[in-house]
């Protein structure tokens, strides 16, 4: 197993009290595999991986086990972590403009990583960086290499971010909403690129998104998060064809489909996403759930196995 997250819990202390953003989350990613992590804002999907990368805000505390390639990486010293970040695993973010330094040319930002981590010369680093810009489909890479981020379009910046993340040939790429800020035609380009690179470089990917459409084409497995917990995890086919958690089912039904036409009202999930500071005593989805019964109100459902490689956190035996 390339990445194994066990019982990860992340809390933030805020003036209004403690917020539990990630609650006892366990996830696995095999080498070369793509795991999709779906959830709405506040579901904890990003914080799981920020915790893993050691990128939590100052008021955040995390506990649990994160094994990468058999090595526990949670709580490592910064210096130690820096030997792994960007080398063994990389992360790209939603908004490429805020992740790139506007004062530095792309060349400087890209070669820095290689010189730092690989100890090669500026010149070798430049050659490698240009090669990667080619790989991610940036036209006139030599010329672009010397430009500043603001001279790039949104799609091009995201390509540059991906190229930077791949400089040291990581075994795992974590992409946090990589296409949310992009237009659909550019999104299609970037998704094709990520899928192609994953195959070509035999790299595992974690795709964090709120868009079930994005997950469907790319992922092998899908984990659905709600209120800081994983509520269902299964293969991509099972998630889309026979969702077993009412939230997963509700999400799928609430989306209008491009390939069908209907004048009927959409199946909206009633209510609001949970307030992490005032989570219900029982299942956090219970107030919005059509299937809820007495037990759901009183007792938090544990994640349990419901089939081969399939888990869900729901008291309900089965939903049709």
């Amino acid at each position: 197993m390339l990445l194994e997250i066990q019982n990860l819990t992340t809390r933030f202390s805020t003036p209004e009290g403690e917020v539990c953003a990630v609650n006892n989350v366990s996830l696995q990613v095999e080498a070369g595999q793509c795991l999709g992590v779906v959830g709405e804002s506040g579901s904890g999907k990003t914080q799981v991986f920020m915790s893993m990368m050691g990128l939590l805000a100052k008021n955040g505390k995390t506990e649990g086990i994160v094994n990468f390639n058999g090595r526990q990486i949670l709580g490592l010293e910064i210096a130690e972590l820096n030997r792994l970040r960007g080398v063994e695993f990389s992360m790209i973010f939603q908004d490429p403009m805020t992740s790139l330094n506007p004062y530095l040319r792309i060349s400087r930002q890209m070669t820095e990583v290689l010189v730092e981590h690989r100890g090669i010369s500026e010149k070798e680093a430049a050659a490698k960086a240009i090669e990667l810009l080619h790989l991610v489909g940036i036209p006139e890479a030599e010329k672009r290499f010397r430009m500043y981020p603001h001279e790039f379009s949104g799609g091009m910046r995201q390509r540059a971010m991906i190229a930077m993340a791949l400089l040291c040939e990581p075994k795992l790429l974590i992409a946090d909403e990589p296409t949310t800020a992009l237009d659909v035609t550019v999104q299609a380009q970037i998704l094709d690129l990520i899928a192609g690179l994953g195959r070509k470089l035999d790299m595992a990917t974690v795709l964090i998104t709120h868009d079930l459409g994005v997950i469907a084409g790319l992922s092998d497995r899908v984990a659905v998060m709600y209120g800081g917990r994983v509520v269902e995890e299964a293969s991509v086919h099972e998630i889309f064809n026979s969702p077993q958690h009412p939230y997963t089912k509700g999400l799928l039904e609430s989306m209008p489909r491009l390939d069908t036409s209907s004048d009927k009202a959409l199946h909206a999930i009633p209510g609001q996403p949970p307030d992490l500071q005032a989570l219900p005593a029982g299942c956090s989805f219970e107030p919005r759930c059509n299937y809820a019964f007495a037990r759901c109100h009183a007792e938090i459902p544990e994640l349990r196995t419901i089939g081969e490689g399939r888990v869900k956190a729901c008291h309900l035996e089965q939903i049709s």
Partner: protein
């Protein structure tokens, strides 16, 4: 009977809104030593009719001019050319005072639900504000009564009337925005990306709400969005914009089943479907490159730099909107080629 049906049967129904060759340009100061202004053509010649009870979806990518179009129609931006006829009256270029009598009937809902609400006003005052401007004769109690009724209509508890916007979630803030737009009982609402900032599970709630209100009050809607699935769900007719120009207009069945413009085809095929089997089989038509700068749009057809069908004619001659059939127009020299 829905607006689209009325439209197709060509009854004597008059359009509620007629837009002809609408242009909205922004002057941009360029050049270093010799200053000059060049026009940024955000909307460049858009025409359509909107019928009572009808929803026109406007789709396109960022920078295509869809929001500018909405604001140009409502005279929140002054058009640089063309005409906007609201119930027989030319409203293009009217001053704010002259527009006031039409404002009651023309409203807008914005994308960012929290940013479009004044944080220092209670939601009761926010929803009531259009009433204080347009119906000053109402007493405080009458106004409150109307606000409470409207809150109930959009799914907010009337007892929340004295709360402030920050106490509400994104979806609830959007309900407040809808209530403010609806309180004057308008006949047209421009919805500018009303659900893009909301979580997936909340989007459906707001879409259903807007549709319900349309059915109840016979509203006409201009629904601006980049999300083709939602536009398909809510619209009767759809307009595809690219760099301020109309590429294709059709009723929704024709547009999605039988797109004629290469840009529409690419847009539709780019949307990922929530279905792993379909996604894996799908032949995606991926467009090369990025949107050209609107300051120096390509000559002829603005889409030609990314178009798989582009030929010499496309660089020389701007394609006109031509009829595919009565309910379907396209601006492409080569639309008959498959």
């Amino acid at each position: 009977m829905s607006g689209a049906a009325m439209n197709q049967t060509e009854t004597t129904q008059q359009p509620i809104l007629s837009v002809r060759d609408l242009k909205v340009y922004f002057p941009i100061i360029a050049g270093g030593l010799i200053r000059r202004t060049i026009p940024l053509k955000a909307v460049d010649g858009v025409s359509f009719d909107l019928y009572p009870g009808e929803t026109l979806g406007v789709v396109g990518e960022s920078g295509c001019g869809k929001s500018t179009l909405g604001r140009g129609i409502l005279q929140l931006l002054e058009p640089s050319g063309g005409s906007v006829v609201w119930l027989g009256h030319h409203i293009e270029g009217l001053s704010a005072t002259e527009m006031k009598k039409y404002r009651k009937e023309l409203q807008i809902i914005f994308q960012d639900p929290l940013a479009s609400l004044n944080p220092r006003m209670t939601i009761g005052d926010i929803i009531a504000e259009p009433l204080t401007v347009h119906n000053p004769e109402l007493s405080v109690e009458e106004r409150k009564q109307r606000v409470r009724e409207m809150m109930e209509q959009v799914g907010l508890l009337p007892l929340m009337i004295n709360r402030y916007p920050h106490e509400f979630s994104g979806g609830q803030c959007q309900r407040i925005g809808v209530a403010r737009a609806m309180i004057l009982k308008p006949r047209l609402i421009v919805c500018d990306e009303p659900v893009s900032a909301l979580d997936v599970s909340i989007q459906a709630q707001i879409v259903n709400l807007i549709k319900d209100l349309q059915d109840t009050f016979g509203l006409s809607l201009i629904f601006i969005s980049h999300d083709l699935s939602i536009v398909r769900h809510i619209s009767h007719r759809i307009m595809v914009l690219y760099l301020g120009n109309m590429m294709e207009v059709a009723d929704k069945e024709n547009l999605y089943a039988n797109p004629r413009h290469p840009y529409t085809k690419a847009l539709i095929s780019a949307v990922p479907l929530p279905d792993p089997e379909l996604e894996k089989q799908k032949q995606r038509l991926v467009l090369e490159g990025d949107l050209p700068s609107p300051l120096s749009p390509p000559s002829g057809c603005v889409f030609r730099t990314r178009c798989p069908l582009a030929r010499e004619k496309c660089a020389q001659e701007k394609p006109e909107m031509t009829d595919v059939n009565g309910a379907h127009q396209v601006a492409c020299h080569f639309w008959q080629q498959r």
